[in-house]
Assembly symmetry: C2
């Protein structure tokens, strides 16, 4: 059976039985929509994913982009794929109709993106980056900037990128050095000079032009993040109705272990002193503006983590069902036929763990997407609470799929045995792809500092209380409820203790274990999602006996997660509070 | 600073301060040796590792073997490397002088192999496989077989492989189908016909000949593992003083995600009906004989896991010490210089975790190696106890470095950030390499069944009691002692309960969580090793203040392991006993 990438039954379960996609249509913004339009959009996305993107995945992995004569050539399949992504609306699906969008809920668009990302994450990323860049221009650009850049990007004639990282400062955006000198030519235009690295899609040969949404520093700006501005820096700049070279050159293509369908580029701005950038939004507030794109991109990375893990899960599930090997433990007569390996308990352990990670992660991203919709279009009085929750969950939505997805994709290789280690099967490629997700768009360490250093302590813990209220609303079993409550109380007490250290000036004592804290917090949040899904499955079992196997699988995965993962919360919290081994370790001890 | 692969100080600490390499010279078998000969051997190994093998690592990874005109061409660097490995003695170092060996302790040879494996695991594997194959021939071969195959292998003119796996039966050796028909030509010769896959070094072009130690089934043999025999199947067979084609053809080279310096081959025996194999040992007892090579290979794989992780650890340590980025959490003035990332607590967390895995794994392998020496050369009265311990620890020695080493190598990538994901740095290659170690020579699942289904229950738990006695001998702190005791008691009680299920006929109930059991057991065993190392470090601190930083690092890593890993034992044991989620899950629920 061909790999479905995501199970369609799963997607409809999450959308309509768990996350209330149908209810969203009662909001004025989505009044023109209904389950039919959502399903049509999803059907188009999954068809393109399965028929167009997925067949190109392995060829694009095998023949990565090359730098030739100063330009980057990507796999020719992108020339066919790109118009299909644009036509589907992936550059603009969730934006209002005034700006050419379909005003679809983020919730629906995210599932559509999930199919595409599972089929071919690299190909899909070009569209995601273009969408994020266009949205930045739409939200913060002057009238001139919007007129110049917006329509060409959403129509797919031009693509977009985000250009933040510089060679000497990966995660440390305060140290961005790219300079911007005001041009006499007109307000809002600057001459840029600087070097950027790891720019995904930073060059390619399937669109007429590329627009880099880049961070730089206007001459005389304050040091640090308060002096960073945002610029639109096109590869070719419009001048007198023509496009002329804008002095953005590709200095090199990084050879990556995965994501090989999209180049990662070292870009030089202004080597000849002729690179023009249009400031986007308010000078010196560029980082704040960029956070719109970063937050969107973080959830997109989370979805890629889930999607890559989902494709690998389905591949290993099919393999396990069809690969005969060995016999039941209790019946080893070598003359009996071998059994499919799914009959071995340990193989089912690996499959159920993958399922729990994939579907738990998907549900969290659905939760985030729905919150994003409600923050924008829901009742005014709930928006602040929902924004807080979305802010709180974003670092988890970015990092859990990356970290747990890497474990999950490793299990997909393991189930394939020796074959899994070879290019005859796809899991090894998905394992290579997944590794990037804990690095780009803010490493797991950065996400953990965001969670513990900002999100959980903001407003004196309001977000955590809002989360507790969400937990209480789930129709959980008594056992699930008790488990969730104990874990939440442990996290709350740990948070309090750590916050007090921070208030007392001991930032290291507060934040040294932030990654362990993020791990514990993620387990709690995913347990909550599994409780929600298990509740929906119990309801479903009463109503829809034809789907009984599906619902029983849901309940089994919830059981697995509660039994195997939730107990880690308490251990990790204790570790956060008590282990000072590496905090005290000096560099010279290693 | 160039990557040391292993720290020399670490190696001397483990050999002489923890695992008593010096004491071994008091055994008659090693009376000709002393610390000087050991150190000379180690110095030669590390020199070859650093000067010859390591520089060839990346080129061999970048240009993997190719099948051309029916023969496999490997990277030309092997033509230089191979004689150096043979000259060092890696085909025969631990064998007696009567058979051309140096009679070095396995303990010393294993550390030498560690340097080589860290430098270039693929290159080293050719020698390891040849050593194992030669040892099989030495131990079980008839006089004719030994005369024909032994000297050519240990002299490096011929290489050796192990040829077990067949396409339809990876882990299930009971299903081996290769057939062997007795030849009238002479007793002990058979015509072989069959297909083998994943044969490491199954073809190459730097030795005159290749000898496959292959499993097959003599016509009329019983079904299952009781009908399997062992054969030496050369690529070219000696006939009238010449070497003639022996009808072993390379049907394909697998494209692997790592270990790309050594080909993994699909081999066909007897396509033309002219493939002669010499039976090695007793017909139908081939699997038992092969276990000698498998057990050696399992520890070799474990050492590769440790070695690959050690190289990656040292690479990330050096990067962390020299890469400036960000500022202390409490001092974010952007005008101050950036600090090396090793100053960030989370980076030290990742480094200390790597250190704990690498050195904990190394110490376990040293323990196993010393046991192997004492089983063969130690006091008679202790041999049985030590053999039991070695048998018990082998599945852990094989799988812990593979599984934890994969996590460790992933951290090495993470510390390198975006650069770590690219081929500009080595960690991505070591991450790809490490993945194989949980698959070849018996998957982690197979190791876990060996541990729980056989080793811990053998002799009514004698091995576990022997282990407890070893624990008691460690000069641990009270806290370490209490932690070890509680964990051991938990494991013992869990083992008892699971064994009772097995005795009651519920094999699935006993073994379903075997991988979780192996995980718990591994944590216990590595904690024990850390307690031993911490004790030696405390002694060292009193004696050798010049090494104070080294010893403090040891104590910090022990502290990390006890605080972060040991608590998992209890949770995992509970899971083994109570979680039935995937046991009860039906294939159709997924």
């Amino acid at each position: 059976m061909a790999n479905p990438l995501f199970s369609d039954r799963e997607v409809s379960f999450q959308l309509y039985e768990v996350h209330g996609a149908g209810d969203l249509c009662q909001l004025p913004a989505f009044a023109d929509h209904g389950r039919e339009t959502f399903d049509l959009f999803l059907a188009s996305a999954r068809k393109i994913a399965r028929d167009v993107l997925f067949p190109a995945y392995r060829p694009m992995d095998a023949e990565p982009p090359r730098l030739e004569g100063g330009r980057v050539r990507v796999h020719p399949a992108m020339k066919e794929i790109w118009p299909r992504l644009v036509e589907l609306g992936m550059t603009n699906a969730t934006r209002p109709s005034e700006v050419g969008g379909q005003e679809l809920p983020v919730l629906v668009a995210m599932f559509a993106g999930g199919y595409l990302s599972a089929a071919n994450g690299a190909a899909t990323a070009y569209a995601g980056l273009t969408a994020g860049a266009a949205h930045l221009v739409e939200a913060f650009g002057s009238e001139e900037v919007r007129r110049t850049f917006h329509e060409p990007m959403i129509s797919g004639r031009w693509s977009g990128t985000m250009a933040l990282t510089e060679p000497h400062a990966g995660s440390s955006l305060a140290d961005v050095r790219t300079t911007a000198t005001p041009m006499p030519a007109g307000p809002g235009r600057y001459l840029l000079r600087g070097n950027k690295v790891f720019i995904s899609g930073g060059d390619q040969d399937f669109t007429e032009n590329i627009v880099h949404l880049a961070l730089g520093r206007i001459e005389g700006a304050p040091a640090g993040i308060k002096g960073i501005s945002l610029f639109a820096v096109p590869r070719l700049r419009p001048e007198d109705g023509r496009l002329v070279d804008n002095d953005c050159s590709s200095a090199g293509v990084f050879h990556k272990m995965g994501w090989r369908g999209i180049p990662s580029i070292a870009l030089n701005f202004g080597e000849r002193g002729d690179c023009v950038g249009w400031v986007v939004g308010t000078p010196h507030q560029g980082l704040g503006h960029m956070f719109q794109m970063m937050n969107e991109a973080r959830l997109m990375v989370g979805m890629n983590g889930v999607a890559t893990a989902s494709a690998a899960y389905h591949e290993s599930l099919e393999y396990a069902r069809t690969r005969p090997q060995g016999r039941p433990l209790a019946a080893r007569d070598p003359r009996t036929p071998q059994i499919p390996i799914v009959e071995h308990a340990d193989v089912r352990r690996m499959l159920l763990k993958q399922k729990a990670i994939v579907e738990g992660g998907l549900s969290l991203l659905a939760e985030c997407a729905r919150l994003a919709d409600l923050v924008r279009h829901g009742p005014e009085e709930d928006r602040e609470r929902r924004r807080m929750l979305l802010d709180l969950l974003t670092p988890v939505g970015k990092s859990f799929p990356a970290e747990a997805g890497f474990v999950s994709n490793s299990l997909a290789v393991q189930i394939h045995g020796g074959y899994g280690y070879t290019a005859e099967y796809l899991p090894e490629a998905w394992l290579r792809d997944q590794k990037l997700n804990s690095i780009h768009e803010g490493t797991t360490g950065i996400q953990s500092l965001d969670l513990l250093g900002r999100k959980v302590v903001a407003g004196g813990g309001d977000a955590l209380r809002a989360l507790a209220a969400e937990f209480a609303a789930v129709e959980a079993t008594n056992e699930e409820r008790a488990g969730l409550r104990a874990a939440l109380e442990k996290i709350a007490a740990t948070t309090m203790e750590l916050a007090q250290r921070g208030l007392a000036g001991d930032r290291d004592g507060m934040l040294a274990h932030s990654v362990d804290y993020l791990d514990a917090f993620s387990v709690l949040v995913i347990s909550w999602q599994w409780a929600k899904m298990a509740a929906a499955a119990r309801r479903g079992l009463e109503r829809d006996r034809a789907s009984a196997d599906f619902y029983r699988g849901k309940i089994a995965a919830a059981r697995w997660f509660f039994a195997n993962e939730l107990p880690r919360v308490s251990t990790l919290c204790d570790i956060c509070l008590t282990d000072a081994s590496f905090v005290e370790a000096r560099p010279e001890w290693f």
